[in-house]
């Protein structure tokens, strides 16, 4: 008995040692990716935070040193910053409502069987794969041009005065472009979610004589809840950083009516060369993104543990 026990410990110890040796290369496999992300994301993030407390303007090389909270104070007192913040949040909010509302409606439609459904769905999701720069130019020129655009032509056909969309309703126009691009994403994700609906539960409520609305309210919505949650969080992150649509169409104008936070920072760097203030604004953008990211990261982490218990 005693002998076999020692052998057991010995084998166990040997096994542990072998396990350790077997794992040893693992951290070296991980290192390159970790280092890469540190160098390109985390170190710059730290530098941004550092610059945000420094006096640093490329146009004024003689001025330097600590600024304390000076850059943040400059932001606080800049009405354009506050309007940029408001515009950023407005874009996120309205685009979320549009893309998820339309995306859900379209997904329910494309979940049903009809003639040529596959082709129709393929056409409907295409806008998502278009680069935002192209989206901006199609909408600005071929659709929204006040004289030569399709919308202007349609207005004239119906005897209306053509509207200068980007001049009169610049922010709504930007929102329409982003909405057009991202509705297909919501559609795709929600459709995938619908396709994994629990058929047996649906059968059961149908047998109980539930009507369509009940079915939708009690089975579809709860099941899609998690999917919608993910879409909301992901789209928020992307909408917060909208840039190319604004860059190619309004350049933040007229005035500052379409200057969102990324565009504000872009201008602070490349028009005013103010590294300090733009870094402070960047810190604000990171904090804003974090507000959304925390939920997503928690979700991803939760997913991880759910996977663990398979």
């Amino acid at each position: 008995m005693a002998v076999s026990a020692t052998t057991d410990t010995k084998t166990a110890r040997a096994a542990a040692a072998r396990e350790k040796a077997r794992r040893a290369p693992a951290k070296w496999l991980l290192a390159p990716a970790v280092v890469f992300l540190l160098v390109w994301m985390i170190v710059p993030l730290g530098m941004t935070a550092y610059y945000s407390f420094r006096n640093y303007n490329l146009m004024m090389p003689t001025v330097s040193g600590w600024a304390g909270l000076g850059n943040y104070a400059a932001l606080w007192n800049d009405p354009t910053f506050w309007s940029a913040l408001g515009i950023t949040l407005l874009i996120v909010g309205v685009c979320l409502v549009i893309t998820i509302g339309l995306g859900l409606a379209f997904a329910l439609l494309f979940h049903r069987q009809f003639f040529g459904r596959g082709v129709a769905r393929t056409l409907a999701v295409a806008p998502f794969f278009v680069m935002p720069v192209v989206t901006g130019l199609i909408w600005k020129n071929m659709l929204m041009d006040p004289s030569y655009g399709i919308f202007a032509w349609l207005a004239r056909v119906f005897g209306l005065e053509p509207i200068d969309w980007l001049g009169q309703f610049p922010l709504a126009s930007i929102i329409a472009m982003i909405g057009w691009e991202w509705t297909p994403f919501a559609l795709l994700v929600l459709l995938t979610g619908l396709q994994s609906l629990p058929e047996d539960q649906l059968e059961a409520v149908r047998l109980d004589g539930a009507n369509k609305w009940h079915e939708f309210r009690h089975i579809v919505i709860p099941h899609l809840g998690q999917v919608i949650y993910v879409v909301v969080m992901l789209e928020s992150i992307f909408f917060l950083t909208s840039f190319a649509e604004i860059y190619t169409t309004t350049s933040g104008g007229p005035g500052t009516s379409t200057t969102n936070l990324p565009y504000y920072i872009y201008q602070a760097v490349f028009n005013q060369y103010d590294i300090g203030v733009s870094s402070a604004a960047a810190v604000a953008a990171v904090i804003l993104a974090n507000f959304f990211a925390i939920f997503l990261i928690r979700f991803v982490a939760g997913n991880l543990n759910a996977g663990e218990n398979r």
Binding site: L37, I42, V125, A126, V134, L137, A281, L296
Partner: protein, 277 residues
């Protein structure tokens, strides 16, 4: 679906509605395609021409004029492909280590990697611009490639990790007991099984890099500029260049739309971090 059901009254209504949605969503792209085959004067006209004599002249100008489309297209292909390959080279070992040799810190590492995806680009723009300026990486394809790689790495690692996790652990353990080395297990057991997953991860990275515009607009001037910069250069050209702009746009988005149609499911899986498969 039975024919009777799909041709029922509600089925027809549904079909009409479905096609209406599809055509409305696709219309701007359809119009772009049409405009690309028009002459400049047809493209820029008060009454839109639906029927016209198609011409390839705009494509010819886009190709031939100075260092036009092809210069940017080459940069786009090069940066997208190389950043995807580097991304995979970094991703496969990292995901392999985390999936098959998990330690106490693995969950944290993985979540940390994913979280870097949520740092907005403007949050790192200033230091990257300044450092690139000092070390000569501005307007340099390698500078852009590194940024594309960093931008896609979190999603790639997450995706490949989730594909690796789908591989039964017994297979790895069996190979281990047979005395296979880590390198052998990776090349002989894991990679063949994960090839479809790696392919779709690569495809997603390729699409995201190809469409990326923020870094190419801010970090390049001409030498390293990719297609989004070329297309954006039409933003101040009024009217006269609509057909050429459309031709260049069509050439820039067509390959990705085709690839995207194939990669729909993988994109959903990758971009939602596995929440929706």
């Amino acid at each position: 679906m039975s024919a009777t059901r799909s041709f029922s009254k509600s089925g027809v209504a549904l079909g009409i509605l479905g096609w209406l949605v599809a055509l409305l969503m696709f219309f701007p792209l359809f119009w772009l395609l049409l405009t690309a085959f028009k002459t400049e004067s047809e493209a820029f006209s008060i009454t839109p021409h639906l029927f016209f004599d198609p011409t390839l002249s705009s494509f010819e100008t886009a190709f031939n004029q100075g260092r036009g489309y092809l210069h940017y297209a080459w940069n786009s292909v090069f940066t997208a492909v190389v950043s995807t390959l580097i991304g995979l080279a970094l991703t496969v070992p990292a995901a392999y280590a985390m999936a098959f040799y998990p330690s106490k810190r693995t969950d944290f590492t993985l979540v940390w990697m994913v979280s870097t995806k949520f740092i907005p680009a403007v949050g790192v723009l200033v230091p990257i611009f300044l450092v690139y300026k000092n070390i000569g990486l501005l307007d340099n394809v390698w500078g852009l490639i590194a940024l594309f790689t960093a931008m896609n790495l979190p999603i790639m690692i997450w995706m490949v990790y989730s594909y690796f996790r789908d591989i039964p652990k017994d297979l790895v353990e069996a190979a281990d007991i047979d005395g296979a080395s880590m390198a052998q297990i990776m090349t002989k057991v894991i990679l063949p099984l994960a090839t479809p997953g790696l392919a779709s991860t690569g495809l997603l990275a390729l699409i995201l890099a190809w469409n990326e515009s923020f870094w190419s607009i801010t970090m390049t001037n001409f030498q390293a500029s990719t297609l989004p910069v070329y297309i954006a250069s039409f933003k101040s050209a009024e009217g006269v260049f609509w057909a050429k702009m459309s031709a260049a746009s069509v050439l820039s988005i067509a390959p990705i739309i085709v690839l995207g149609w194939f990669a729909q499911r993988q994109m959903v899986r990758g971009l939602t971090f596995g929440a929706v498969k």
